[in-house]
Symmetry: C2
Subunit: 360 residues, 2 copies
DNA sequence: GCGGCCATGAGGTGCGCAACTCAATTCTTG
DNA sequence: CAAGAATTGAGTTGCGCACCTCATGGCCGC
């Protein structure tokens, strides 16, 4: 009996299989009682179709459940797309990984008739970034840019959009600009997450938590800091946040800041490194023999931070998957250009928490 | 000067733009000095080509950097694929979300000329699962199955593979079976992660941590438990793991187990719920007025666990993204059938940690 | 040197659609 | 009611490839 039931259940799926034949434009034309040309006019919004006829076509489409075959459409449409990814210069490990991932994505895009160029601009120089955006070749169909929230940059982005070039901001946003979308994490939430982790890991110990800012000029860094101090202040009153200074994403500078904060605060419980330069913080902590003692949370999973996690120097790393972001930006730009829909949920960039045990 | 440099930098990318024209089979044929038919024979491994000629073609391909256009190939190849997703029956919230995501993926696959059927089987019944696998319609080109590590299931999977049907295991693996790939998390690592979170959150408090097993028959559950006790025992000697029993993914049962463990262990520090049924654990904790006091870590982000996190009843949720897994399984099956490469990194399923602050 | 076999060439067809042309049919409007 | 405009039909081409047929050429052994 059980076997019989299973047999029924098994054969069921293919039995009810929809007729595999696709519904094509031909079918729609026949159903609507018009010619292929008219269907084409309706679908591609070409002029010269009476409203009534268009409606007949639309209803035929609905009745048959016609869906244009994206594969055939891409082949027939001869256009190719060219995207520009504007990434920061410098030796920031995360950005180098991001760039590598953009390269890998470019490889994939080749098959989709799209090309990627990479352009480097100093991330701390709003003027340079704006100039680069303003002077961008108008032949680009889309731009992904690690942005700065600055009036000229904003204006330059709006200008590109005005000229019909799709823009997505990557990793760092310019929220008021008319970009298509922001591909990156919610940095305020990331900061809150860091505070929760340090707060919970501290287990009620009283003391101070040092915040090493990256650059107060970078919107994502200030947002992280805001979220962090907000949660630490309200949820963990036994901990006091002190600002150690700006590292400007430089490891040596981060090390100096860490060293002085260790000296000034013997009761140091934790360190939150907002920007890059985890190496410097780790070196300072190890130098002072406090690597085990002080809770250290930072951003971006790199070979370094990975090692620090495994050695117990770092306690948690908050990450935004660079590969995911590169692919997501490319997918969004491409989908925008071809008019295809996107899977919103797939393009959400999550705030990943890594501890020693869930490393990839 | 700076402006001049930027101008150069800007115009650079498109200048060096590769000639947008694709390298086609025509080009390869010309370059190799053979006909299109011969190139086709080489590329599609059709018989009747001398080794020397084939080598000429290969070298022409390499020289020109020819890459078959996947879009055109899909169009020309008339085959369609049909995949079967075998999911557990029951009311398990995670599995219902997974099923929903599989449905969404099916929608996307339609555009890729592939179809998905969903088949339900009792997850706790290895015989039923094996029977279903054995009786599966041989016309399927691929199967994704939430597996059980059981000899008959393993044999059934190997049998499908033998018949040329691609199999991926989903969420729960059968490691020794010859499946193409496992799409899911490393459950041992997930268990270790849970232990680290509870250990760190406990802040040195002495006491016991209750482990509510899901089903000791499910490989993923036992792996989680193993990873958990391993780390808790070696890293957090002040905590003692006690097994509260099997919930069999049932909330009511989980509640009963939690209630008795609370009664038996007044010094309870934390609870790790290995399987489903977080609702039951939460109800028991709230009923005993211990929701804030006891650290509660469980699996799978659902509307329930999400609410528990926000209310502070749960302290962390370990998640495996169901949407990602559904899409990944589909992509892997499809890529296998079309012979296209996959982006390995994209298909890695990560162990997501969620606290109150990094919820999506 | 003949039949036969193997390697290759030439060419066609179709996948589903975009984009276009040109002619034929309708509908307006003065 | 005729001229002109708007609308529609029929058909072609090509995207890059897979898959197929048929013809041709050379080389083999016998």
């Amino acid at each position: 009996m059980a076997a019989g039931q299973h047999r029924r259940a098994m054969t069921h799926p293919i039995e009810r299989a929809a007729p595999i034949a696709r519904v094509t434009l031909q079918d729609v034309a026949r159903e609507a009682g018009v010619s292929l040309a008219t269907v084409d006019r309706v679908l591609n919004r070409r002029p010269g179709v009476r409203e009534k006829t268009a409606a007949r076509v639309q209803s035929a489409i609905a009745r048959l459940g016609y869906r244009p075959d994206p594969v055939a459409a891409r082949l027939a449409r001869k256009e190719t797309f060219r995207f520009c990814f504007i990434l920061p210069t410098g030796t920031n490990t995360f950005m180098r990984i991001l760039e590598e991932q953009v390269g890998a994505t470019a490889d994939w895009l080749l098959g989709q008739r799209a090309f990627i160029d990479i352009l480097h601009v100093d991330v701390f120089d709003a003027e340079a970034l704006a100039t680069a955006l303003e002077g961008l070749d108008p032949r680009y169909s889309g731009v992904a840019v690690v942005a700065l929230d600055h009036p000229r940059v904003r204006a330059a982005i709006d200008d590109l959009v005005e000229r019909g070039i799709a823009v997505v901001t990557l990793v760092s946003d310019a929220p008021t600009a008319r970009r298509l979308r922001y591909v990156g994490i919610d940095n305020t939430a990331a900061g809150r997450t860091a505070a929760t982790l340090i707060g919970r890991f501290s287990g009620g110990r009283k003391g101070t938590v040092a915040v090493i800012a990256g650059s107060l000029a970078l919107r994502d860094h200030t947002e992280r800091q805001f979220g962090f101090t907000q949660v630490l202040g309200s949820e963990y009153p036994h901990l006091t946040a002190v600002l150690a200074g700006e590292s400007r994403d430089d490891a040596a500078q981060a090390q100096r800041l860490t060293e002085s904060v260790i000296a000034a605060h013997p009761e140091l419980v934790g360190i939150y490194n907002v920007g890059a330069g985890n190496r410097g913080v780790a070196a300072a902590l190890e130098g002072a023999g406090k690597a085990r003692d002080v809770i250290f949370v930072g951003h971006d999973l790199t070979p370094h931070s990975r090692r620090f996690l495994l050695r117990g120097i770092m306690d948690a790393v908050i990450n935004q998957d660079p590969g995911h972001q590169a692919r997501s930006a490319a997918r969004i730009l491409l989908a925008h250009c071809t008019g295809e829909p996107i899977v919103a949920e797939q393009e959400r960039i999550g705030i990943d928490i890594f501890v020693r045990d869930n490393l990839p």
